[in-house]
């Protein structure tokens, strides 16, 4: 596999893309891309999930030569893409329930195996609720059996489709419609929630990765890499939701980048339970820079600044940086891919 190219300028990736040789460009720069999730769907303006899904699916289509079947959990992605009698999907697509997408994907993969159609690959997808909460039993079962499925979680840190309720992926202090910004500890409580990628790694499946829509090239290459493995694989993508997070629709990508650069969302890859690569933080920012533009954290700044809460969030980010070596990445894993040989 040719080495992945990373871009470190903070401006548009499209500029960098044009400087690349043809075969290293993103899937989206290719006019013959599959457009798996095509235009006309009903996602909100600036929806990170729609952006993420579009890149994931087209990259998976390229990686599989178009031999792809997809399974979708209930959630925004499902609802905004298939209002009767229309569909935005140009790939074979099956939606069953909210909590069973990983098992349905297992069933599809098993059927393809039984029918001798192993040329066709399976991609399951769901929101954080469908993945880390209600679908978690099915996800773990799919992992431990090693079914030949790539499951992609689009993490917008809440149940957005039902009106922004708290999920097991909602960060501490965040305001949701079930963790209101009221009372002595406004927003989501500290000390709860889980890291689905780390739990996925504990299954020792071939490949686990995190990504965000701030580095779409990285996202595409992780999909491609995941498709290079057989067995159960997991990709956890941070996809800011302007509606639920209370942000400017034009800032979705920037918010995702700040999540990474603050250390709140570590971007890494793991194989068979071991971390093999992390994306280093290039311009570290205090968590405050990430929190401030989002209405779901407004109660940390108004009516007065809650330094105590912000410090606790900063401590969480510091711990990620320490734990994953996000500042010392080059020492641990060598230079980033695409630099040097």
């Amino acid at each position: 596999m040719s080495e992945r190219v990373r871009f470190f300028q903070t401006g548009s990736f499209a500029v960098g893309n044009r400087l690349l040789p043809l075969d290293a460009r993103t899937v989206q720069s290719d006019p013959s891309r599959s457009n798996s999730l095509t235009s006309g769907h009903r996602a909100c303006r600036g929806c990170g999930e729609a952006l993420g899904a579009r890149y994931v699916l087209d990259a998976a289509m390229r990686a599989t030569g178009g031999r792809l079947v997809t399974v979708n959990a209930t959630g925004c992605l499902e609802v905004f893409s298939t209002p009767y009698p229309e569909t935005s999907w140009r790939v074979p697509w099956l939606h069953s329930l909210f909590g069973n997408a990983p098992a349905v994907a297992s069933g599809v993969a098993t059927a393809l195996k039984a029918r001798g159609r192993t040329d066709i690959r399976v991609l399951g997808q769901g929101g954080d609720g469908g993945t880390v909460d209600i679908g978690f039993g099915c996800l773990s079962g799919m992992f431990e059996r090693g079914d030949d499925v790539l499951f992609v979680c689009y993490d917008n840190q809440g149940y957005m489709n039902t009106g922004v309720q708290r999920s097991g992926a909602t960060p501490p202090a965040a305001r949701t419609s079930t963790t209101q910004a009221v009372g002595p500890e406004p927003g989501n409580v500290f000390g709860q929630g889980k890291s689905a990628p780390l739990i996925a790694m504990a299954h020792e499946i071939p490949y686990v990765a995190t990504a965000t829509i701030a580095d779409l090239h990285d996202l595409e290459s992780k999909v491609e890499r995941a498709m290079g493995f057989h067995g159960a694989r997991y990709l956890h993508v941070l996809v800011p939701c302007p509606l639920g997070w209370g942000g400017d629709a034009a800032q979705t990508v920037r918010i995702a980048r700040l999540a990474v650069e603050s250390g709140l969302f570590p971007v890494f890859e793991a194989e068979r339970g071991e971390v093999t690569a992390v994306s280093p933080i290039r311009h570290r920012v205090p968590v405050e820079e990430y929190l401030r533009p989002q209405a779901r954290f407004r109660h940390l700044f108004e009516p007065e600044r809650r330094a105590d809460v912000i410090d606790r969030l900063q401590a969480g980010a510091d711990r990620n940086i320490e734990r994953f070596g996000l500042l010392r990445a080059e020492e641990r894993f060598g230079p980033p891919l695409g630099e040097g040989s």
Partner: protein, 391 residues
């Protein structure tokens, strides 16, 4: 060829002859022997071209079957009791998507109190799930109905549940003629899905539908179920021609023709009922039995034809709806509005339904003393004890 065989094994062997491609299951008594036998058949290579998936729950079992069926594989699973409830959401989904999954339900009570023994509360709780429900009277019927079920399911693109009484049938060893492979292959052609997930012809399955078309989707499901009634009768004739034995697809009447009273029931209790009717007939009592094989769709015409002029109907229920009474009786009352109707709730949680008790209940019916709703063999001593418990 007849062989002495456990009901579960007979069903497993029959399912294997139907050449399923994906089997997924989660263990629960009294279904376990069926899926254990199928697992061994797959693992030993005797059931070629089939994958067996050990899932982590019944919800996953039905979900794997949904994915497998949508991807063009003949899919099978089996469950009972709590397991059936645990897959409830996926049951409605499978029927809504029109996926021809076949499932055995080894009928068992539902807790609390937890109880592993046989009654029909599990399947009855899912009677409106959109699945066709067939009830086996004995193990021959249990085996044969599975062959019919696969054919029917795939022709109509709808899932079918074959219900067989837990333990009473699943664990009973009796003579069964397990369908032969050649005949099964003649009766059951390879699965041709109506719609399939295929990169060469992408389709969107399971899209959202709002008020503008939801009623029509449901109406068409109803029409499809009604079409199943006629088709089941045709397929039963074809079954008889292929396997050289009868198969009652909708109802099975016994000594009904000149009966004044007909007892209606589902499942293995029909054997005891027929013996009881023979006893009563010998004493000159004009009584008959009507077994329902099909409960969903509900075979109204076949029931009317079989019951004939009998003026009284006694429904023997192996499940009931608290606060109302009989479940089957409610449907029968709609089909037979002009008859005297009695519900006898019997055999809950595995309590034996004896000939003596049945004779007594029917004698009461003939002397005009049977209440509209009766609980057979209710233990008054236990009820008094419950009353005496200090609060």
């Amino acid at each position: 060829m007849l062989s002495q065989i456990e009901g579960s094994r007979a069903v497993a062997e029959t399912v294997a002859r139907c050449r399923p491609q994906v089997i997924c299951a989660y263990p629960i008594s009294p279904q376990t022997h069926i899926v254990e036998a199928l697992s061994a058949l797959v693992k030993s290579g005797r059931l070629a071209g089939c994958e067996f998936v050990n899932v982590e729950s019944e919800f996953a079992a039905m979900s794997v079957a949904i994915g497998a069926s949508a991807a063009g594989a003949r899919a099978y699973t089996a469950t009972a009791s709590q397991g059936l409830l645990y897959m409830a959401e996926a049951l409605y989904n499978a029927s809504g998507l029109g996926l021809p999954i076949v499932m055995t339900v080894a009928n068992r009570a539902i807790g609390a109190p937890i109880n592993i023994w046989n009654d029909h509360s599990d399947a009855m709780s899912q009677r409106d799930s959109g699945w066709i429900q067939l009830y086996a009277e004995d193990n021959q019927a249990a085996a044969d109905l599975h062959v019919l079920a696969f054919r029917l399911a795939e022709e109509l693109s709808t899932p079918v549940m074959v219900c067989m009484d837990g333990f009473v049938l699943t664990h009973a060893v009796e003579a069964v003629d397990v369908p032969g492979q050649a005949a099964a292959d003649r009766f059951l052609p390879p699965f041709q899905p109506r719609q399939v997930l295929d990169p060469d012809a992408p389709v969107t399955i399971g899209a959202m539908v709002g008020p503008e078309a939801f009623t029509e989707v449901r109406y068409l499901a109803h029409v499809n179920q009604l079409a199943a009634l006629a088709r089941m009768s045709e397929l039963a004739r074809e079954f008889t021609a292929t396997f050289d034995r009868p198969l009652a697809p909708l109802v099975s009447p016994y000594r009904c023709a000149d009966a004044e009273t007909v007892v209606v029931a589902l499942g293995s209790v029909l054997g005891t009922l027929k013996d009881t009717v023979d006893d009563l007939r010998a004493a000159g009592v004009p009584v008959g039995v009507l077994g329902l094989t099909a409960f969903r769709p509900f075979p109204v015409e076949a029931i009317r034809a079989a019951i004939g002029p009998a003026r009284r109907v006694v429904v023997l229920e192996r499940a009931f709806a608290a606060g109302v009474g009989g479940i089957v009786a409610a449907d029968l009352a709609g089909a037979l509005p002009d008859r005297e109707m009695h519900t006898v709730v019997a055999g809950l949680g595995g309590r034996p339904v004896t000939r003596d008790s049945l004779r007594e209940a029917l004698a009461a019916a003939f002397s005009g003393k049977l209440a509209p709703l009766t609980f057979l063999d209710l233990d008054e001593r236990l009820l008094r004890a419950a009353e005496e418990v200090p609060s």
